[in-house]
């Protein structure tokens, strides 16, 4: 790889890696694994940099992160090692820290693809079509997975309006 291309890669990492680390953290639910996910994705990006750099590299890295997170979660699920936690009957609402923990627990408890849909839709603000492209699935799948995920998150966070949530998820 030429020095210029390496400089470009370094600049891309400097500019976007923190945002991508946050995506990885939400996608996998674990900080240490998020760092590993990001490094794996960036190494793969670096190897393909000459092809990727001329388009926007960020969607490529995002796709690798999300799909690797799903693959790893499925692999763990086979061994029943996924840290699925029982959601509290009465969600903790004392302050935002508690709610964050409840949200992260609820996210971890979602099936991997549902978690990815939520993160891509509400953290990355991707459209349903863009989310479907990242995940390699149909828009209808994104809608149904999102709807189911939101119902679970609503229950975890103690939201009142079920109808509103489901209605929006199907929009």
């Amino acid at each position: 790889m030429s020095g210029g291309a390496e400089d470009d890669f370094g600049a891309f990492v400097a500019a976007r890696a923190t945002t991508l680390l946050r995506l990885a953290h939400l996608a996998c639910g674990d900080r240490a694994e998020a760092e590993d996910l990001l490094q794996t994705a960036l190494e793969r990006t670096y190897r393909n940099w000459n092809k990727v750099r001329h388009d926007s590299p960020e969607p490529y890295v995002r796709r690798v992160i999300v799909n690797t997170a799903i693959s790893r979660a499925r692999r763990r699920a086979i061994l029943r090692m996924i840290p699925v936690r029982v959601l509290p009957d009465t969600p903790a609402r004392s302050d935002d820290v508690d709610l964050r923990e409840v949200l992260m627990d609820a996210l971890r408890a979602l099936p991997p693809r549902q978690r990815a849909v939520v993160v891509l839709r509400y953290w990355e603000d991707l459209s349903e079509q863009q989310t479907a492209q990242v995940l390699g699935c149909a828009i209808g799948t994104v809608k149904s997975q999102c709807s189911r995920a939101l119902v679970k998150l609503r229950a975890a966070l103690g939201e009142e309006s079920v109808e509103g949530v489901v209605g929006h998820g199907r929009a």
Partner: protein, 242 residues
Amino acid sequence: MAALEDRIRHLMAEETAGLHVPPDLGLRVMRSARRRRRRSVLAALATTVAVAGAAPFYLAAVAGSGPAPIVTETPPPPPAVDDLPPTGRPTQKDLGDLGDGKAFGHVKVGYLPEGLRWQNWSVDFGDSYSTGYDYKGDKHGFYCVQIYVFEDEAVLEVDDRISIHRQEGEGQEVVIGDRTGYMVVQNVGEDGMKGTPTLFLDMGERRRAEISFSPVYAKDLRTSEAVDRELRKIAEGLTSTD
């Protein structure tokens, strides 16, 4: 905008606000990628030197995990390259005399399909090593089964390859006793055959095994069910010795 969605966004933002990457991440990624590339280059060169233009699967698998240009530097393989024997590696480290070949490196082979014998060859790259089996125990014969073991840093490489197979939807997850694996038909050879049935076995955090059948041997087994069954049985019997 639904209140729940705003709330999710808000909580996600708070959850991740404290996350920052180290300033030298880009350099670390580039260094790590170069390290892997160097290892792949060495493996590819070993292939080129050792087998005088042929690229048997046992080394092609390693080269295949590296950057694309390495592959193009390897001389084009002759027909049926997937089944060429690993021969003549004067500069290549090996695992020595393995006897019946059922214990090598840090693993033990508990099951081999009927009629197969150790082929009297092995390769040893330190954190990855391999050997093979055929009908006659002939190091110059076509391999039937090859087992490649990856340890420590080399695990990352094979995980990366498995991850790509997963993303491409090329194989399937399998459960082998209390372990997991990934079964896929790799297109390692360029002989126009159906590819190399392979089972990647997770043998713990720092060890993976890649069990492969040559296309010719897979054909001998007649059905994909038999291939699947024999791959799983070998995986079941493959255990760590340390």
